[in-house]
Amino acid sequence: MKTAALFGLTGQGIETAGEILSNILRSQGYTHRAWRDFSTIIRGGHTAFEIYISEEGEATPPPRIEKIDIAVVWDDEGAKRYLPRMTDHVMIFGSSNVTQIQEENREETPKLGFNVWGLGIIAGYLGIPFSLLEDSINQHFAGESNQNLAHRGYILGQFKNKGNALTSKPSSHVSISGNDALSLGAIAGDVRHYFGYPITPASEILENLTKWLPPLGGKTVQVEDEMAAIYAAAGASYAGERTFVASSGPGIALMTEALSYLGATEIPLVIIDNQRGGPSTGMPTKTEQSDLLHLRYAGHGEFARIILTPTDVLDCVVVIQEALNLADYYQCPVIIALDLDLAVRRVSLPWDVVEKAIGSVAVDRGPTLLESPPLEDYARYRSVDGAPPIRTVPGIKGGGHVASGDEHDEKGFMEPDFKVVRQNHHLRRLHKADQIEYQRPLSLIGNVDAPVAIIGTGSMGELIESLVRRYPEQYKGVLLRQLHPVPVDSIVNALSAAKTVIVAEYNATGQIRSMIESALNDKLTHSLLQFNGEHYTLEEFQDAITGILSGQKELTRG
């Protein structure tokens, strides 16, 4: 594996340089994983780009690891961050602003242009043919001075190149982020209309669909706030059109009244929470998994909901398609919870793997009636033998009904006989998703006999998988994909041979652990809690796990 880092100020085009590098690697068929760090301030802070490149032929993207093979930094802040991580100290380069690295690794570079110089160094080191680099730089950063800077950097990097060479070969790799994957999956799931409001880190979904829906005859509307987004989505869903909303903590909070409304009216909708550091405005560019209890209980009153949690980028393509089907079938809110790192993480994968994921779930509208000859005596909320009520959409003669947030009878009319309705209709609506038919509530990674089981979801997925791969005799992984209703039996089975269980999560109070507590009853359980906003490198994660096991650090639940 080869790893590289580029560090500078926001506004220096670090992210674009990283995209160029990622794109070149993708085009040559190199599976890799990109890590983006962006300051919470748009100008005046720092930003970094790290890339982790798999060995040739490997199809699985690597996790974020500690060791960096080559780094280029703008100032001492970058040196401070990356010196401790270098495989070799002579492999860190910097502008003349940096005082902490050797002089021969420093050069006078302009503030704007530093990124291109840094890109050149990294490309030279990795053995990327210069022609590939030249073309991309011309595309994004035209001009002779940029070409010269790239060339200068390239020669420097080449000098340190110890026989690395990126072979030029046609590839079918694509580069996608978690947000991209959700967007792809949504379209595969027949979503053609989207209503969104910008928020970090979900805006990319809005931006993607703005471009991708019109050629399919659909459209995206950027609305005035999150309440408009979820209510517009509810309207579209009532009208029979598949859609979803995506936001982060603060936006989800604004949508909670609508959650209760959807629960009451049984209008299907998928709601995505790309969780970030909280509470309140929190840490908009940092990762966290601290909304889970909120997602479990948000919305006043009692109603059914489902919560799914994807565990890697490819999984995002699949989970949204599954969620759309579940929402149609159970006619309740289906919440997809992931975290910032998984949402913005970019990985390069062979296209046929992605294509398989796109086609892996057939669209199933369930009890939704899209077309019908005229109906007689139709009642929207009439359930025959406990089956989901048939849901008509506008256009069907005789299918007219009112979807009301007020408590209602079988026909949807408010001011019913409450005593009767609360005993029948309300209980059916409340308990309809207590058990769900969901194909894969969790993924079991590794040897079923391993003594230590690590439970996690979201961005923890790649760390758990990598650790299990390193030490298959010691660890097994349980990656949760269904968080509510809790798949108790599946979890109990997955944990059966384990002596110790560690629930690893990005929050301070052990929310996942509290939600699955009933499945952990007789196990010796520890919590691994991280809540400073940073996604672990594999080494940090391993240290934290072994620390717990050796009893040195007993991280207690809040």
Binding site: N23, R26, V174, S175, I176, D180, L184, I187, A188, D190, R192, H193, F195, W212, L216, G217, K219, V221, V223, E224, D225, M227, A228, A229, Y231, A232, A233, A234, G235, A236, Y238, A239, G240, E241, T243, E257, Y261, T265, W351, E355, I358, G359, V363, L370, P394, G395, I396, K397, G398, G399, G400, H401, V402, A403, S404, G405, K411, G412, F413, M414
Partner: protein, 279 residues
């Protein structure tokens, strides 16, 4: 495209109406149904989206499709329907408390967005459903349980606000003049863009100060919409209470066509399409 001739009766769903006797909303409901029938729109091709309040219950008395949303959110819901199903006739409805209080932000953006649907506001100058509090359109000095010493806030001017936000059709009506109101609603529905119809619809239980006689004396009939901004502002400035089509910024009129809903692309094509969108 009409299947059979429609009458207002086809729009009734048999659900007993629980508005107070004398409520202005009865007339609004009837005029809306008559207007839709006169345009030969089938009930199953209509979606009536309402908010919370006495007026919000209107959806329960509509024989087509209806969405009874939450307080102040009828406009986003209606736009979600219209944006994704332009083949439907969409009407948003609610009261002044719902639409000009909590919902007032959405009014501005709905006017800007100018999607083709109609917003009917039953304006009675009071929060009737919660038993008589002052509302955004209650006049200065209005007395209620929440303004016992007289309302000190200037009332909202919805005709000015909607117009300033870019509304392409603004009308005002009176539930006490059904013939006139029916025609107004028909014109609003036909207008190809966002149309607001503010309707004086008295609450005979909680706002006795602004009842039928009050409005009958105050309203003045406008035959032609204002030609210029100055005319418009002059026309709607208090104490004037104009009724009629007051502003129509362009003459595009049409009704939604009941066309075949789009068929989704084949699975194989979708994968190829998605591949083309990625780097």
């Amino acid at each position: 495209m009409a299947d059979t001739a429609v009458t207002a009766k086809d729009y009734m769903n048999g659900n007993p109406i629980t508005w107070c006797p004398g409520c202005g909303d009865f007339s609004v409901l009837k005029c809306m149904h008559r207007a839709l029938a006169s345009l030969n729109i089938q009930p199953e091709d209509t979606v009536l989206v309402s908010g919370i309040g006495c007026s919000g219950k209107i959806g329960h008395y509509h024989g087509g499709y209806a969405i009874h949303g939450t307080h102040g959110r009828a406009l986003p819901i209606a736009q979600g329907v219209k944006a994704s199903r332009p083949d439907l006739t969409v009407i948003a409805a609610g009261g002044d408390g719902d639409g000009y209080g909590i919902g007032v932000g959405h009014l501005v953006h709905a006017a800007r967005r100018n999607l083709n649907f109609t917003y009917i506001v039953m304006d009675n100058g009071v929060y009737g459903n919660t038993k008589g509090q002052t509302s955004p359109t209650s006049p200065l000095g209005y007395q209620s349980s929440t303004t016992p010493f007289g309302n000190a806030d200037l009332p909202i001017n919805p005709l000015l606000l909607a117009w300033a936000s870019g509304a392409s059709f603004v009308a005002q009506g009176f539930s006490g003049d059904a013939k006139h109101l029916e025609n107004l609603i028909a014109q609003a529905v036909q207008h190809e863009g966002f149309s607001l119809v503010n309707i004086f619809s008295p609450c005979v239980v909680f706002n006795k100060a602004q009842g039928y006689d009050f409005y009958r004396q105050k309203i003045n009939y406008i035959e032609t919409p204002a030609a210029t901004a100055q005319d418009y502002v002059g026309m709607i400035s208090p104490p004037s209470m104009p009724v009629g089509v007051l502003w129509k910024s362009y003459q595009k009129d049409s009704l939604p066509i009941k066309e075949q809903r789009q068929s989704k692309a084949e699975e194989a094509d979708i994968a190829a399409y998605l591949r083309s969108r990625l780097a």
